[in-house]
């Protein structure tokens, strides 16, 4: 069938600069550039271009420009080019449209409507360069009150296992299978160096990375891939994945092509077979069942590790979160509407779930009202872009933040949304050994460590500006936030005042 889909991008090769070196031919994993031997010239199949800009960065003479194909259809606010093209694609194939990364649509980003406070005149700000500034964060269930043995000054109260973070930013679940092993190693090493945690995702942990176990969160998802006693034993935290922001309510499916020999080793399934993650955990149909799995994992690891439960932020998150805490979760993870994925149906990615800011505010508030906020730490994720978002999330009530897309961008990702194709030109979302080599764990871990360092410095600056010397004092302190351009209902749900009031 002739495709009616127009090319998305135009490849402009400046002939006065191009030296026919063919670097672009080798760099492009989408078969755009090719060398025409007859004419001795490098040419392009523009229709294949995904706009990842790998060639642009690697062209030694800056001969390449990738532009969006203007596609000037007759203007129509309803029938936008993307909508037309999705219909064409489905008319040509009859399938569910799959995409990568997070929701890219125009739902309101509340971070951009929240602003932070700073000290002026009446209270002094603090200079983090010269005064101690505490970002330390402890994840885990906290007791209602602590009792101390008067004579020995020993703690009398039982303390559930706690995990100490030097910076409240962790790397979110990305499975080996979705991302390459080099990405896993980069994340693991950067987390170890930065005093934070990374998350295996639901595809198991490669034995080579067991040595980073102290900084590793292992996931137990509906497919139970790679879940075995040693996997649970090496971990610092165990996370039960119920859902993720990019695809709330649906399962996952790693196609057989991506189950290489190495992936098969960590997922513990035969090479080349599909890895299906069922939509629900079939042992969890209720809060009581969730409690059963939480305690199964606690029993399996002799109560040595916090158990986290991750859900996608949906309409009744607050009530569910309350149930999760009562079920014994030590940590609750909320993944918002903009949460990313290696592959999800686009219609679900862009239409299901709620913005993380609203979910966070309502869950924190609900747990406080019920007097159980201390019983679990709260982690949020889904589109957190910079340290400003991090500080706002903490003021809204989060204990820590997960980043995934931001971490991949640090490794080179340009958010081209082709993760599901397995052809990532940046070597991130691929199992092709030739492409995966493009992420060097020595450099990758340094880039990630740098990012976290930069964010920590900025967080300290913002805290100092507010006259606060410990992140703990900002946690859930919504008086440090104000809203701009929000309705009364939005302000009420966020629990913040309008700027100026």
């Amino acid at each position: 069938m002739k495709t009616y889909l127009p090319p998305k991008f135009i490849v402009d090769r400046n002939p006065s600069r191009c030296i026919q070196c063919q670097v672009c031919v080798n760099q492009c994993s989408f078969d755009v550039h090719y060398y025409d031997a007859d004419d001795d010239e490098v040419r392009s199949h523009e229709e294949n271009c995904v706009g990842c800009h790998r060639c642009v960065i690697f062209c030694p003479t800056q001969a390449l420009t990738i532009e969006r194909n203007p596609l000037d259809y007759r203007e129509n606010y309803n029938w936008r080019p993307e909508i037309i093209e999705d219909i064409l694609r489905q008319a040509e194939t009859g399938g569910v449209i799959i995409t990568g990364m997070g929701d890219d649509k125009r739902q309101r980003i509340y971070w951009d409507h929240l602003v932070l406070n700073a000290s002026q005149v009446t209270n002094p700000s603090i200079d983090p360069l010269r005064e101690p500034m505490e970002l330390r964060t402890y994840l885990g269930s906290k007791p209602e009150r602590v009792e101390i043995e008067p004579d020995s000054l020993e703690l009398k109260t039982y303390l559930a296992p706690q995990v100490e973070l030097d910076v409240p930013v962790m790397f979110a679940a990305m499975s080996y299978g979705a991302v390459s092993l080099n990405v896993h190693e980069s994340l693991a090493r950067a987390a170890t160096e930065s005093g934070t945690l990374w998350n295996t995702g639901e595809g198991g942990l490669h034995p080579k990375l067991y040595k980073y176990g102290h900084n590793t969160i292992v996931q137990v998802a509906s497919g139970r891939f790679g879940v075995h006693p040693q996997y649970l034993d090496v971990a610092r935290v165990i996370e039960i994945k119920i859902g993720q922001g990019a695809k709330p309510g649906i399962g996952g499916h790693l196609p057989g092509e991506k189950v290489s020999a190495e992936v098969s080793l960590t997922r513990m399934i035969p090479q080349g077979t599909d890895a299906l993650s069922p939509a629900p955990h079939h042992d969890i149909y209720s809060i009581e069942d969730l409690a059963q799995l939480i305690y199964a994992l606690k029993e399996a690891t002799n109560y040595q590790k916090p158990v986290a439960v991750k859900i996608a932020a949906v309409h009744n998150s607050a009530a569910i979160a309350s149930g999760m805490v009562r079920a014994g979760a030590d940590i609750i993870v909320l993944d918002g509407l903009r949460g990313s994925t290696g592959a999800a149906p686009k219609i679900i990615r862009d239409n299901v779930g709620i913005p993380i800011e609203l979910a966070l505010a309502s869950v924190d508030e609900r747990l406080r009202q019920e007097g159980i906020r201390n019983r679990a730490s709260l982690i949020v994720s889904g589109g957190i872009r910079n340290s400003g978002d991090v500080v706002k999330a903490i003021a809204l009530g989060a204990d820590a933040i997960y980043i995934a897309t931001a971490a991949l961008i640090a490794l080179g990702c340009t958010v081209c949304q082709q993760c599901h194709t397995g052809k990532c030109a940046w070597g991130i979302c691929t199992q092709d050994p030739k492409l995966a080599k493009r992420v060097n764990p020595d450099i990758g871990s340094r880039r990630l460590t740098n990012l976290l360092r930069g964010w920590s410095l900025e967080i300290k600056d913002m805290l100092g500006g507010m006259g606060i010397n410990a992140l703990e004092s900002l946690r859930g302190n919504r008086l440090h936030l104000r809203g701009v351009g929000l309705t009364d209902t939005e302000l009420e749900i966020l629990g913040v005042k309008m700027a100026g009031s």
């Binding site: 399938g95 799959i98 879940v227 399934i269 077979t273 149906p345």
Partner: protein, 254 residues
């Protein structure tokens, strides 16, 4: 309350009134102290028995163990003189569970290895998402019959349903057998109608390899529950196999 050591490496625990947390603590302790055989008496709903023991040890249960018996289990061999509840063998890695009564729902859920033998009937979704890996191949042998969704999402391993308690001419009741199955094999003794099978499975006659599998595993089943294996093997078996290794391969566009 402590476990009573009898003779060398033989332990006996009276579980009356013990919370599962305490009971499992005693089990861990006994295993650490070198137990080879542990007898649990008066078990009454305690969950997770057999988890976190990580080596071969004989556990005998008198009574009714609770949910998630042998979850994440890696090595022990548990014999239950009574019924097992839901989630028995959940994500089990290795070991054996032998149940002299019935078992509840999701028996052997996501098991990757080990063997489970049930003398009586089992609940819904037995064998769901069992997988195999390298030399690991989980095995489930059920003497009676099963509820719906037997072998759902099965990705590996062997599931044998014997139907020994069906009367002459009586059919298995389960529907949606093997729905979403994409690996492994189910052997059925006793009759089923085509409509009881999931869309993703095909029926095949058994061949020599199957016969030797059945000989071995039905033999083992019969030895636990004092049946005559030859009698059982006389019945007609069919084999259910996934029609496609990638049942959902053509649903998506990129």
């Amino acid at each position: 309350m402590a476990a009573n050591r009898r003779q060398d490496s033989q332990f006996k625990v009276d579980a009356t009134g013990l919370h599962y947390r305490r009971l499992n603590q005693l089990l861990r302790q006994a295993v650490a102290d070198g137990a080879e055989r542990i007898e649990l008496q008066n078990v009454y709903g305690q969950r997770y028995i057999g988890t976190d023991l990580d080596r071969e040890v004989e556990i005998e249960i008198q009574g009714t163990p609770g949910n998630d018996l042998g979850s994440f289990m890696n090595g022990p061999r548990i014999t239950v003189y009574g019924n097992a509840q839901d989630g028995c063998g959940n994500t089990m890695n290795d070991g054996q569970i032998i149940i002299h009564g019935h078992a509840g729902d999701i028996l052997g859920f996501s098991a990757r290895g080990g063997k489970i033998f049930v003398r009586g009937d089992v609940g819904y979704r037995a064998g769901i998402h069992m997988k195999e890996y390298q030399d690991k191949k989980p095995v489930l042998v059920i003497g009676g019959t099963a509820q719906d969704f037997l072998g759902e999402y099965m990705a590996g391993g062997m599931l044998i349903l014997l139907g020994l308690n069906l009367r002459e001419g009586e059919y298995h009741r389960a529907s949606f057998i093997g729905t979403g199955m994409h690996g492994g094999v189910i052997y059925l003794r006793g009759s089923v109608d085509q409509f009881q099978l999931g869309r993703e499975v095909g029926v095949a006659e058994i061949d020599e390899v199957d016969c030797s599998n059945l000989d071995r595993l039905v033999g083992e089943f019969a030895s636990y529950f004092s049946y005559n294996a030859a009698e059982i093997l006389k019945g007609r078996f069919i084999k259910l196999l996934p029609l496609w290794l990638r049942p959902y391969g053509n649903l998506y566009v990129y």
